[in-house]
């Protein structure tokens, strides 16, 4: 019974990730794309956790916390890059 509910959640999250992926490709500026990538990775965290519980296999959920740390690092690095680029322009 739990598997049925979890499979609904997997479908909803995959649809949501597809909608957000369109914004990554279409985003007019760099911050738009990075913001949409941020939301995709945070959705993928939940998706990995759901799939891991669905198959009762804990190995897939090992990568969840490093992925969250990685996307935080990406935000900081892109922000520093943008500020440096803006300083060179002036």
């Amino acid at each position: 019974m739990l598997g049925l509910y979890l499979s609904h959640l997997i479908v909803i999250y995959l649809t949501s990730i597809l909608i957000q992926a369109v914004r990554v490709l279409r985003g007019p500026t760099v911050p738009d794309s990075v913001l949409a990538l941020d939301t995709i990775v945070f959705s993928a965290l939940v998706l990995m956790m759901i799939i891991s519980i669905y198959y009762e296999n804990p190995y897939l959920s090992i990568g969840v916390l490093p992925l969250a740390a990685w996307i935080f690092l990406l935000d900081i690095v892109v922000s520093r890059y943008l500020i440096r680029k803006g300083g060179e322009k002036k």
């Binding site: 959640l9 909803i12 957000q20 913001l35 939301t39 519980i53 935080f72 935000d75």
Partner: protein
């Protein structure tokens, strides 16, 4: 179904609905600074609540105790870290976008620009 499973799945479904709403909001809003609102709906509503809910789900099914504790630990730790990282990350991104002039805010009056502009 026991009560923990119902509460956990309700939180997970609430998070899935908020995730879809935020994903649509990323397309409906026109500029970067308004999309930050939609991104926060995805990051907090669509990640923090479902992870807590999945932790409750894992606690209330009859699995071995070590497996349960593994899932609860990962779910709660990641939920707390995501709540911190999404707020700090989007703040840093907005600062970078504003300071570099990459995304111009569409506003009537920009008081921050007057304050940060060098005098003279």
């Amino acid at each position: 179904m026991n009560i923990g499973l119902i509460i956990g799945l309700a939180l997970a479904y609430l998070g899935a609905a908020l995730n879809i709403i935020g994903a649509v909001g990323l397309h409906r809003f026109r500029e970067f600074y308004r999309r930050l609102h939609a991104a926060t709906v995805v990051n907090i509503g669509g990640t923090f609540y479902p992870l807590i809910g999945l932790g409750i789900v894992a606690a209330s099914v009859d699995w071995p105790m070590t497996l349960k504790m593994y899932y609860i630990g990962i779910a709660v730790t990641t939920a707390l870290f995501a709540a911190f990282a999404s707020a700090a990350g989007s703040h840093a991104l907005a600062r970078g976008a504003y300071r570099s002039g990459e995304a111009k805010p569409q506003v009537w009056a920009d008081k921050l620009e007057e304050k940060t502009k060098p005098k003279g």
